[in-house]
Amino acid sequence: MTLVLNIRDLQLAFKSWSGTSEVLHGISLTIGKGERVALVGESGSGKSVTARIVLGLLQELRGVQISGSVEFQGQDLGAMPDRERRALRGTAMSMIFQDPTSSLNPVFKIAPQFQEVLARVTPGISMSATRVRATDLLREVAIAEPERVLDSYPFQLSGGMNQRVMIAMALANRPALLLADEPGTALDVTVQAQTLDLMRALVTDHGTSVLFISHNLGVVREFADRTYVIYRGNIVEEGPTRDVFENPGHPYTRALMAAQPKITGGGLPDLVEGDRHYLEPRFVHEGVA
């Protein structure tokens, strides 16, 4: 199986004048072609920064120390010049953010923002060509009136509509890897479920690999082939989603499962902070998804 993403022993620390704070303590994670992989953990566990390292967004900040390797389609991102790494963004990999409405620029209509997205692959694409292509893409995400949406500002559209626009933009250039950072958490549960179904159908169609970052176990169970559980910058358990859910091996994962409150799985309740069992070595489920 060819690996789309191969993260090995990734460590991350932020250095500031008051000292160094370590965020990731050497995590390893792989995603195969067309595979949907979830990274689950509570907030502050280091899931979001992982996605931002893959995109190369963190590397450009000052005071950020990164070690370990991130390989994308066999190429080491760390060894790549900045310019080549940037060239991958929005083309070979793209991202969906937590709150679709605030992730779209409020003072520009959808159409010009779509133009920027498409221009990553077709530099200098005209507005009329943008509209033709964008209309198709918006139909793909089940938007009935693409013309109206293109001429709207984000605040004129509902959250679910903006989420569809985001998904259309994310998949517009047929990326090999899609990073989804808590997608739709800001939306109503039903709307969130609808858009996630849509997203799953599309990535399956296009054979897109997905790194799905979430704290919502219910959603993860529905969506992912394989699951990694992250706790305080360490991967504590990994394996096929079914195995992880049905037979959690690590104390932290078990606590997570036990604490999951409702069918909707709104979020993580407080776990007993710093239980020493949570720091046990990682538990790996062998087997195929």
Binding site: L57, G90, S94, P106, V107, R120
Partner: protein, 340 residues
């Protein structure tokens, strides 16, 4: 566009109210003058009956409210009274001197925006790195000295030591340009006298820049602060995650949202140029409203003081109305919200 019109009408309405308040305020200030303005105007040697005559002509023997009534009815007819200093209608004086000041302020305002905003954008784009530090220090220096200090420094450097620009005035004496608009950069062009046209611009350059410097600093600082706030927004992260060119993000996608909150204050700074023009005109011998204003104030020339301040305030309010309308045009949220 309908909403824009409606907004404009509403804004002009409240502005007229404010302008009315301003006229009351200025009138009140002008009437607390110690001493008898008629006596001051005529000098100590004038006979008492002459003074009494003038007092009657200026309605000074009537109650203050009645005086204000006379002032308002005159204003409605475009009559601000006669200046005791020039013996001409205040309106005529202002029409004479205002264009020079407006020309200076407009060019200066354009400099402020054309230089200040790009500096702010650059500073925000390279925040924490050396271009940012350099721009921050320069813009802070710009706002840290009054316009007359910059006027003196610029004059010394670029008119005396390096004689690139003329020292004072609006146009070389050898040119004789018929007055059409009072704006020499326009009148010279109308006259088709291109040598004079160039000369007018050369005269304008230093005073306008001296006047603009603090505004440039202010605009750069404000733009930087608002842009940095915008850079924290998710839609900028999204643009970066999608690999949109950094320059385009800065100049377009981060700039426009941060311009909207900056506009009001930039408008205020633009309007403040009207006051600071007094300082620059004095250094460069610029024949604008300033010299007239200072002279009438020193001579306690009531009508002229009230007229000058009222006209300047009216311009000030006008600039603010324009800025307000621009904000509505730029901000789709207001524009579209009103439409429903």
């Amino acid at each position: 566009m309908n909403t824009v019109l409606r907004h404009t009408a509403r804004r002009i309405g409240t502005s007229l109210l404010v302008l009315f308040g301003v006229s009351v305020l200025i009138f009140a200030i002008a009437r607390v003058i110690p001493g008898d303005p008629a006596r001051v105007a005529l000098g100590p040697n004038a006979k008492q009956e002459q003074v009494d005559q003038l007092r009657a002509a200026m309605f000074l023997d009537e109650p203050v409210v009645a005086q204000y009534g006379h002032f308002l009815s005159g204003l409605a007819r475009g009559d601000l009274g006669v200046s005791l200093y020039t013996n001409r209608p205040v309106m005529t004086d202002i029409a004479d001197f205002l264009p020079a000041t407006l020309e200076l302020v407009l060019v200066s305002g354009v400099m402020m925006i054309a230089i200040g905003l790009p500096l702010g954008i650059l500073s925000a784009r390279y925040r924490g790195r050396w271009p940012d530090h350099v721009i921050r220090v320069i813009s802070l220096l710009g706002v840290s000295a009054p316009a007359f200090v910059w006027a003196v420094v610029l004059m010394l450097l670029f008119a005396f030591y390096l004689p690139l620009f003329p020292i004072a005035g609006r146009l070389h004496d050898s040119f004789d340009i018929p007055r059409v608009t009072g704006f020499l950069t326009i009148d010279t062009a109308i006259a088709g006298n291109w040598a004079a046209f160039g000369d007018a611009w050369r005269h304008l350059a230093l005073p306008a820049f001296a006047l603009a410097l603090s505004g440039i600093g202010q605009a750069a600082r404000l733009t930087r602060a608002n842009m940095i706030e915008t850079y924290e927004k998710p839609y900028i992260e999204m643009a970066q995650a999608y690999g949109w060119p950094e320059k385009r993000i800065a100049n377009r996608y981060a700039f426009k949202p941060s311009l909207i909150p900056s506009l009001t204050i930039i408008g205020l700074d633009f309007a403040a140029l009207l006051g600071n023009a007094f300082l620059v005109e004095a250094v460069f011998g610029w024949p604008g409203l300033s010299r007239y204003g200072v002279n009438v104030i020193l001579r306690k020339d009531l009508n002229a003081i009230v007229g000058t301040v009222l006209i300047i305030s009216a311009m000030f309010i006008l600039v603010n109305i324009i800025v307000d309308i621009l904000t509505v045009i730029l901000n789709p949220r207001i524009r579209k919200a009103d439409a429903r």
